[in-house]
Amino acid sequence: MASELTITVNGKQHRVEATSDTPLLYVLRNELGLNGPQFGCGSESCGACTVLLGSKVVKSCKLPVSDATGGAITTLEGLSADGDTLTSLSASLHPVQRAFIEEQAAQCGYCSNGMIMATAALLWKNPHPTDEQIREALDGNLCRCGAHLRILRAVKRAAELFDKERDPDGR
């Protein structure tokens, strides 16, 4: 039976109608109209549907919405400062998004949501990851087009951009 649930997404509370076992992804896309998280496999094995629950990476394609009611969910749309989707470049972009643009770190872009969200979570925990740590953190995110090397460069650049933000004068 569908019931009314409250979830917090990108800083706003939303009341949604859904059965408790509905995967979070369908609620985010179809009830809230978000486009960042994408369906890829439905079995948590490709990462296209990645969102953050608190500061934790979760794959939303299988997670029942009822398990996501307690925490703050962040999607790709919520990364940028004003929470709006942007059609032109602006300073309010999250450093990871800026880094991905600067490195042109995608081909088709379908996996980009997962790559960007996983990177944001990684740099939150570990601001200066080694190459190996980056590869390990992204190993659950598949890319078919072969943009991997650009994505690795983008993660490094994102770490630099974070550093600059924390310490603009480089002291």
Partner: protein
């Protein structure tokens, strides 16, 4: 199916008249400037392009061509790609021809538009044409710099009403300011911020969600269906085609799982181990695509003879995003949003399926997940269209991961046999090459149509693609290349990146290495010795130089090299792979790949690098890991565990050297760097271990077997 070579040639020639296979084909059909672009009152330019972007970023390169020839800032160029109501018919997007053919049309349309604007300005400013200067859409007079007029003031919102003559002056490459520059992709900011970008993001008011309930195999027949086994969903049954349509996506997903259906299966495919034997038992239609000298007598006279057989399995496009489409079919009109490679061909086929007239059907391209060939995109469009027509409301269909892996058309399995002979100096004097392949081009054959009618798919219109790069560019006095066309294979197949080019180059370039080994020659020197074309020699030398070819390597490591000219007349590619082989497990780790790439004039060096990197990583994945598996008549590689692809932890370092020839025509780069990877890796495995792997993928098990 054209059985005779003569018929085959004829149908190919007919085909080459179609718009997508020539530079001027599309312009002949859409010969007005207004068919290709519009100058808006705000100074922006809308480009109507019949080619589509399959996830390669080619829309940016096309926008660069327009910005260059029209002299407007690239930020003001908006691309509309693939919409039967708005864009010209440019056939399908395939074969790395978007820049070559699609770019040609836009270049001439833009040059014609610029010419028209200059003529208008000449009148308005009372100046001769050769006194006018253009920069960023502003025209000025050289001796009166204060006097200017903008494109928008001259034409904004008005039609050009002018034919494309192909005579308007084109810019000289040395004057390019936009073409040749690493312009950032126009689509990425949207994709990185969650703005709607993909067909998966299309939402239409009143839209419901659907899933197709697939039979266990294509020829299975429906015995019974229990519609009471599902709730909250409508069941649509048309012949053997079954769909469930529900208001909410999760309801459709659940219903598709719960619906009780009984099928009768009659088909059985050969066992996996029997595949290649069964291929060789098939009757074939044979075609000699090259014959020079006298191969058999030269082989007999050769000092050394070498023979080898190579195998390519079925492989999947394996897009990360499964096929998806949205359709709104009403009594007298239909709109279908999908990520098809050709909106016009699809429109005609969908009209047929829906029993409507083509002009009642509008097909709109929206980007999908990267596709690399013929995937399930068109099938999803047909699914959505049929289901929308059945329930009388807009319907969105998204395939499940299992649907995608089981039902997308695969790259066909192939077998190659090569015999070669050397003279006493170690030169190749004879080469006999035979390949067994089906056509890599499938005709119109929607799964939906096939299931509704119960008819097997129509055979392809012509056999093609399996011969791609079967002949090599090497100078060999006696050679023969034969293609043995199979009428079909049990699994559904069609085109995938480079078609037969990858398997044929795997065979040819592995075999060159085998010959070099027998001749006791260095594989690089051996190849150079058999090449005359300076551009071929250049790519090989540059790749070798950058890879530090011949340097001492640690134990267990080796370097392998491979060269090809795509389709024997397009881009030149040389690849050097460096691998480590674990002698105990047989596991191959590709550490580094160096590619030298010459595709003539470079439009966007960063976009080009991105394409080459993608080709290299994807083809490394195909060489090491990928094969479709089955049991009985059921595909068993249905998820990312059973069809693994290369992960971050396994990706090699890739170094690319671009060779720019601005005086040479710009040819495609979407496929060439795919074909030299597998042989470079196989040759590196040989260099590391002395063991030769002749069957893709190079799994640890297979490598271990070759080592013993």
């Amino acid at each position: 199916m054209a059985d005779e070579p003569s018929e085959w040639i004829e149908s190919w020639e007919e085909d080459s008249e179609r718009s997508e296979w020539s530079e001027t084909g599309a312009i002949k059909k859409a010969n007005q400037v207004d068919d290709w672009l519009a100058l808006n009152p705000d100074g922006t330019v809308t480009v109507f392009c019949g080619k589509i972007d399959s996830g390669t970023g080619v829309q940016t390169a096309l926008a660069q061509i327009v910005a260059e020839e029209l002299d407007v800032p690239i930020e003001r160029v908006q691309m509309v790609m693939g919409d039967t109501a708005r864009t010209p018919d440019e056939g399908i997007t395939a074969g790395s021809t978007t820049i070559r053919f699609g770019g040609f049309a836009l270049r001439h349309a833009s040059a014609e538009a610029r010419r028209a604007l200059l003529e208008l300005a000449s009148d308005r400013l009372d100046a001769a044409l050769d006194e006018l200067l253009v920069r960023d859409g502003v025209i000025s007079v050289s001796r009166r710099p204060a006097q200017t007029i903008t494109y928008a003031e001259l034409m904004g919102g008005k039609r050009f009403n002018r034919a494309i003559t192909l005579q308007a002056p084109l810019k000289r490459p040395e004057d390019y300011r936009v073409v040749g520059k690493p312009i950032p992709r126009v689509d990425l900011p949207r994709k990185f911020t969650g703005a709607p970008s993909f067909v998966h993001d299309v939402r239409v008011p009143g839209m419901w969600h659907a899933r197709v309930v697939r039979p266990p195999s294509a020829s299975a027949e429906l015995v019974s269906i229990d519609e009471t086994s599902v709730q909250d969903a409508r069941v649509v049954r048309l012949g053997n085609f079954i769909g469930v349509v529900a208001e909410r996506e999760e309801q459709a997903v659940r219903a598709a799982k719960q619906l009780k259906v009984e099928w009768r299966e009659t088909e059985r495919w050969p066992e996996m181990e029997e595949l290649y034997t069964s291929i060789r038992r098939q009757a074939t239609s044979d075609d000699t695509v090259r014959e020079e000298g006298r191969v058999e007598s030269a082989l007999r006279k050769a000092t050394a003879q070498v023979e080898a057989r190579y195998r390519q399995p079925f492989q999947a496009h394996a897009a990360i995003g499964p096929s998806c489409a949205v359709a709104d079919v009403q009594a007298d009109r239909a709109v279908i949003w999908c990520s098809t490679r050709g909106v016009y061909p699809l429109r005609d086929e969908l009209a047929d399926l829906l029993q409507m007239r083509p002009e009642q059907v509008r097909v709109i391209f929206v980007e999908g997940s990267g596709s690399y060939g013929h995937t399930g995109s068109e099938d999803a469009a047909a699914d959505a269209a049929v289901l929308s027509q059945a329930v009388g409301r807009p319907v969105r269909v998204q395939w499940s991961r299992e649907d995608e892996f089981a039902w997308e058309p695969f790259a066909p399995a192939m077998e190659m046999e090569v015999r070669g002979g050397l003279d006493p100096q170690g030169n190749v004097i004879a080469l006999a090459y035979d390949v067994w392949t089906p056509s890599h081009v499938a005709g119109a054959q929607f799964l939906a149509g096939q299931l509704i009618s119960g008819q097997p798919p129509e055979p392809p219109e012509w056999s093609g693609g399996g011969d791609r790069n079967a002949p090599t560019n090497y100078s060999i006095p006696n050679q023969r290349v034969r293609v043995h066309w199979l009428s079909g294979l049990p699994l559904r197949t069609s085109s995938m990146r480079s078609l037969g080019g990858a398997a044929n180059t795997f065979a040819n370039e592995s075999f060159m290495d085998e010959l070099a080994a027998v001749a006791k020659s260095d594989p690089l020197e051996f190849r150079l010795r058999h090449l005359d074309d300076p551009r071929a020699i250049e790519v090989l030398k540059i790749a070798a130089q950058n890879a530090n070819w011949g340097a001492a390597l640690p134990q267990g490591e080796g370097q392998g090299i491979a060269f090809a000219q795509y389709e024997n007349e397009e881009a030149y590619v040389a690849t050097v792979a460096q691998v480590h082989v674990d002698a105990k497990s047989g596991e191959v780790r590709v550490k580094r790949i160096v590619v030298a790439h010459d595709c003539g004039l470079i439009i966007n060096p960063d976009g080009l690098r991105n394409q080459i990197e993608g080709n290299v990583i994807q083809s490394t994945s195909r060489a090491l890991k990928e094969q479709v598996t089955w049991d009985g008549s059921h595909i068993t590689s249905l998820d990312w565990d059973s069809y693994p692809i290369l992960k971050f932890s396994e990706v090699p370092d890739v170094e690319i050297v671009l060779i720019n020839h601005p005086d040479q025509r710009a040819v495609g780069a979407g496929e060439p760097a795919t074909i030299t990877t597998a042989p470079a890796i196989a040759n590196a495995i040989f260099a590391a271990t002395g063991a030769r792997v002749r069957e893709i993928p190079f799994t640890p098990k297979r490598v271990r077997a070759a080592l013993t």
